[in-house]
């Protein structure tokens, strides 16, 4: 018997050994013989006609091998970067889907849009030469904000997209909502902005591409969360490379948060270029380049209204949102503010009627796509702010109004009016747990203590639910997904009993190599050390949709669980043969196969060995080998949720908001590794706090320049911004995933922004403040206080 470390244990993360000792293998570590350096020339203008490009000075520069532009792309008849989702409006009219060329053609549509690719012997030569490219731009006015973009007379990004509207999408029963509003005792209204964010994974994006003439094969190493999807989209739809001639490898990747779950033009350009120059090419983005090319997140402007009866019961919820898509449709772009947003507007409440309209809008900004939480933080923010506004207008306690409207535990499974059916949950239990953990009872004492120092203290709640484990393919297909969303795993048992798992998800910080090894260790009774997890290489892993949407454990782990079960079934067959018993009489437990009711056993290693030395096998009924594969497609989303409570202190002199306490009680279903789950919650919460208090991507209105284009101007949350967080789980089991897991990757980011802003508003409510837009920066708070109804107490 080996060292089984199973479900519920918290071993140290296997992968950290190599990361912490500098032995990781990232894309920028890769060196290939004869490797060249590539640099992208990007548009310095938000919006301009490309009148011409003169390559001659670049081609004459030292070390330059080639310069490629949109004209070369067109000449080679390459495809447009595809969008993975096709949404439609209420009449079924498909979204406008203008082409997204990998190098700009005719026009540039955002600062950072790629204009040319310069390949030289060294990075220095490529950089120096790139500065010499002469591009004739006819600069056009830019439009960067959604409100401005849909106004008559606004600059138009595409000739055939009137008013820059990609799709006028809706969900829900509009008429039922209108009827409910007419009967309402109270209607609460809220206008808000969901601020634009930039993901900033620690490792910038990078790629290396190589073409081998001998085998006519391409290899692309890329910082991707989903290499198989890149292979499919790029090979089949952009570059016309047959799938078997294209290998995509995503080795160690230093964080993604969504930023790396898209097929980027850089990947296509570098792969195409590698064959044209017959040399391997490496490109590594600088941080500044990432700011103007990594897909951004969020960026909504929303009007919401909640209808309530006289007791504070929610009757109907109506939400109108303008969502920024940026200059082109990115891989998941239009799916995020629609399908991952509208269906979440029910939250944990019994609101019977909901209507949501989202206008998806093009602007002269970096394309917007999924960023940790993707759509669900936006939905949660609207709803949880709305609940607080309604409570305060009706004079009902904020916790009480939530209780009055919450779905009781017994009511699950619960069908919402916006498509989704929650399988399990206990929002009240999470709320009760959080109230105790946050010591809400003594908040008054803490508030008085703050007041005695001249500070305002506030408490904020967010009781939320999200939908993750993306995704049930059948459901997603109805919503416009152009591909499946299942996951796959292969469990290869070696002759000596060790196990290699090939899985289609991608580990870039989440601890998969540990969590998945625990599942196998528990199920097969093999040592935790004897399980290796392989991912991120289309030549080694069968297929996979990658990692995003808190899907890796929920969908990938389920495939792994299924494949492991198949190994046990096969093992039983082998054991039955070796033990000369009927297959039905074989039991498997704790790594041993036995004949029921006897002491005849075979260990897992013995079975593994026999599988590969089939000297007297009944070959007509039993194949040699012990390796099984499973694909798993979920039947529903999973619905983690919980209650977050934030406590802030505001310094009225400077407007500074300090987060002083943070409590989260989350329902993530079965917890495989509590330490890793806690880490995911911590990280997620910090990112949500970042959105609430610090982060903001700001564009200059007329020029389309990104003003927050570096870490000097884009404020990331830091360790000293955070108090010690209290996080706990209060789990109900998912009823349809094999292990009862629900996913935990995004809950922190989804629950926290509303909790923090609700706390800030609470701290300032005595001054008549009813809403604060994110991020609640000192400047913004000070200005609110200047305009507030009461004078700020002078010292």
């Amino acid at each position: 018997m080996g060292n089984v470390i199973g479900i519920g244990a918290s071993p140290k993360r296997k992968e950290d050994q190599r990361f912490l000792t500098g032995r990781g293998n990232y894309v920028s570590d890769i060196k290939r013989p004869g490797m060249t350096a590539g640099v992208f020339v990007r548009s310095p203008h938000g919006h301009a006609v490309l009148r011409g490009i003169d390559k001659s000075a670049v081609l004459a520069a030292p070390g330059v091998i080639a310069v490629l532009t949109g004209e070369d792309v067109a000449a080679d008849k390459l495809g447009s970067l595809p969008c993975g989702w096709g949404i439609s409006d209420a009449q079924g009219v498909p979204m406008k889907e203008p082409p997204f060329p990998m190098l700009a053609q005719g026009k540039v549509r955002f600062v950072g849009d790629m204009v040319a690719f310069v390949i030289a012997e060294t990075p220095e030569q490529a950089n120096a030469a790139a500065e010499l490219l002469s591009v004739d731009y006819e600069v056009l006015p830019s439009v960067v904000g959604v409100l401005e973009a849909v106004r008559p007379g606004a600059p138009q990004l595409f000739d055939d997209v009137p008013n820059n509207i990609c799709c006028d999408w809706e969900l829900g029963d509009k008429a039922a909502v209108e009827t409910a509003f007419r009967k309402a005792a109270h209607v609460a209204k809220l206008s808000l902005v969901n601020n634009r964010l930039i993901g900033n994974p620690m490792e910038p994006r990078a790629a290396v591409a190589e073409y081998e003439p001998g085998t006519d094969r391409f290899t692309l190493w890329t910082t991707s969360q989903f290499p198989h999807v890149v292979r499919f989209l790029m090979g089949a739809l952009v570059l016309n490379i047959p799938q078997h001639k294209l290998r995509v490898v995503a080795p160690d990747v230093g964080g993604g948060f969504g930023v790396k779950q898209f097929h980027y033009g850089e990947e296509a350009v570098i792969t195409w270029a590698a064959k044209r120059v017959h040399r391997p090419i490496k490109w590594v983005a600088s941080r500044s380049e990432g700011y103007v090319s990594d897909r951004h997140g969020r960026d909504h402007v929303t009007e919401a209204e909640l209808a309530l009866d006289e007791t504070g019961k929610f009757l109907a919820f109506r939400v109108n949102t303008l969502a920024n898509m940026g200059g082109y449709l990115s891989t998941f772009g239009p799916n995020i503010p629609t399908n991952l947003y509208g269906p979440l507007l029910g939250g944990v409440y019994t609101t019977p009627a909901i209507y949501c309209n989202v206008k998806v809008v093009f602007t002269n900004t970096v394309p917007v796509d999924a960023y940790r939480g993707a759509g669900r933080p936006e939905a949660t923010f609207v709803l949880e702010r709305m609940v607080d506004v309604a409570a305060s207008e009706m004079g009902i306690d904020r916790v009480e109004i939530r209780r009055r409207n919450m779905i009781p535990k017994e009511a699950y499974p619960y069908q919402t009016p916006v498509l989704v059916q929650y399988d399990s949950g206990d929002p009240m239990g999470c709320l009760d747990g959080a109230l105790v953990a946050a010591d809400v009872k003594s908040f008054g004492v803490r508030k008085a203590a703050s007041a005695s120092k001249g500070k305002f203290r506030g408490l904020g709640y967010s009781t939320y639910v999200e939908a993750c484990g993306l995704a049930p393919s059948r459901f997603a297909g109805r919503l416009g997904a152009r591909g499946g969303l299942y996951e796959s795993a292969t469990v290869r048992v070696h002759p000596t009993g060790q196990v290699t798992v090939m899985i289609g998800t991608h580990n870039h910080g989440q601890g998969h190599e540990t969590t998945f090894a625990q599942i196998v260790s528990e199920k097969l009774g093999v040592s935790f050390e004897d399980v290796d997890i392989v991912f991120g290489d289309t030549d080694r892993v069968q297929f996979g949709m990658g990692t995003y949407g808190s899907r890796s454990l929920v969908v990938g782990g389920a495939a792994l669980s299924k494949a492991t079960d198949k190994v046990i079934v096969k093992g039983k067959k082998i054991a039955a043969h070796l033990l000369e018993a009927a297959e039905v009489d074989i039991q498997f437990e704790a790594g041993k196969f036995s004949v029921a009711g006897t002491d005849r056993i075979k260990t897992f290693e013995e079975i593994a060995g026999a599988a590969y030395v089939p000297h007297n096998y009944p070959l007509e009924v039993l194949e040699p080998g012990l390796e099984e594969q499973a694909y798993y497609d979920p039947v529903n989303f999973t619905y983690p949720g919980g209650c977050h409570i934030a406590e802030v202190e505001v310094d009225p002199e400077t407007g500074t908001v300090t987060l002083v306490n943070y409590t989260a009680v989350d329902d993530v279903g079965t917890v495989i590794n509590p330490m890793i789950v806690e880490g995911q919650l911590h990280g997620g919460i910090v990112q949500g706090v970042g959105q609430a208090l610090f982060e903001n991507a700001v564009y200059d209105e007329s020029s389309g320049q990104l003003l927050s284009g570096s870490l000097m101007d884009y404020c990331m949350p830091r360790a000293d911004h955070m108090p010690m967080m209290k996080v706990a789980t209060h789990s109900t089991l998912c009823t349809h995933t094999p292990m009862g897991v629900k996913g935990c990757g995004e809950v922190g980011t989804i629950g926290s922004p509303a909790a923090v802003i609700n706390a800030v508003v609470d701290a300032l409510s005595h001054l008549g403040v009813t809403h604060v837009d994110m991020p609640a920066t000192p400047n913004r708070i000070w200005r609110l206080l200047q305009n507030a109804s009461l004078p700020v107490a002078a010292e």
Binding site: N127, M716, T777, P778, N779
Partner: protein, 265 residues
């Protein structure tokens, strides 16, 4: 980064000579400001003249009425100096608030003063204390040294060798950090001498400046209440995505009060 020649002279006159003889050459001290600009290709000098091997540019000395800090003294050394902490605690505190530990170990007082970033901390301390900037050729009074946005009175081949700080009766620094960069959104240094009070503001405008009405009020009564009602004009103050001019003006008063508090504590 573009290629450049690298020199490491060990005598100040040699360094000055390199600067005059090589057109487009630049001094490098801690490199905390210069190297990032080279990496971003915003500057491309043909040669760097490294000050790190020059004798006597590092260290802190005390002659009773003045503390002299060598130009190549890193921020961390000033912050941790028992001498500075006892004679001018506000200056040690200022040094401890610059950047992060790595920046404080590399970045130097000479580099910071020569660079005169409008949001840097040291210029407030140097102007607030009325220090003297000692160079390879002369000594320049702080009041004549800072000429606005990255501009100083230094000649192209002039090298700062030390800063001489008169020891005040009391001094304090209060910094409101810009959210992202953590440079000063507004920083105020106040120093009380026998013959009056000096108060210098960094971060708020295009360069460090003094606030005579506050100095006058504090010379009468060295207490935060003396300046609580003094508002400064928004003219010439910076507006950017982090803070508009009126907010910066407001912060000047608040930080000035806090600097006086710090000086008194």
């Amino acid at each position: 980064m573009k290629l450049f020649a690298y020199h490491q002279p060990d005598q100040i006159p040699d360094a000055a000579k390199l600067l005059t003889s090589i057109e487009d050459s630049k001094l490098v001290a801690g490199g905390m400001t210069l190297i990032p600009t080279l990496k971003q290709r915003l500057a491309s000098p043909v040669a760097l003249v490294d000050l790190s091997k020059l004798g006597n540019l590092k260290g802190i000395t005390d002659d009773g009425a003045t503390i002299t800090i060598g130009a190549m003294t890193p921020h961390a050394v000033v912050a941790a100096s028992k001498l500075v902490q006892s004679k001018i605690p506000g200056l040690a505190a200022l040094a401890s608030m610059i950047g992060d530990p790595a920046v404080r170990r590399r970045g130097t007082i000479g580099g910071s003063v020569a660079n005169n970033d409008p949001a840097a901390d040291y210029p407030a301390g140097v102007l607030g204390l009325g220090a003297g900037i000692v160079t390879s050729t002369r000594e320049i009074a702080a009041d004549k040294f800072f000429l606005g946005l990255f501009e100083t009175a230094l000649e192209p081949s002039e090298i700062i060798t030390a800063i001489r700080f008169p020891v005040p009766l009391k001094a304090g620094y209060a910094k409101f950090k810009a959210p992202a960069s953590r440079y000063a959104l507004v920083g105020v240094f106040v120093a009380k001498f026998a013959d009056g009070v000096r108060l210098a503001v960094t971060g708020a405008g295009s360069g460090v400046f003094r606030v005579p009405p506050m100095e006058a009020a504090l010379s009468q009564n060295f207490d935060p209440s003396a300046i609580a009602a003094i508002k400064i004009d928004t003219d010439g103050l910076t507006s950017d995505i982090h803070a508009e001019a009126d907010y910066r003006a407001h912060l000047v008063t608040i930080m000035a009060k806090r600097a006086v508090d710090a000086a008194l504590s």
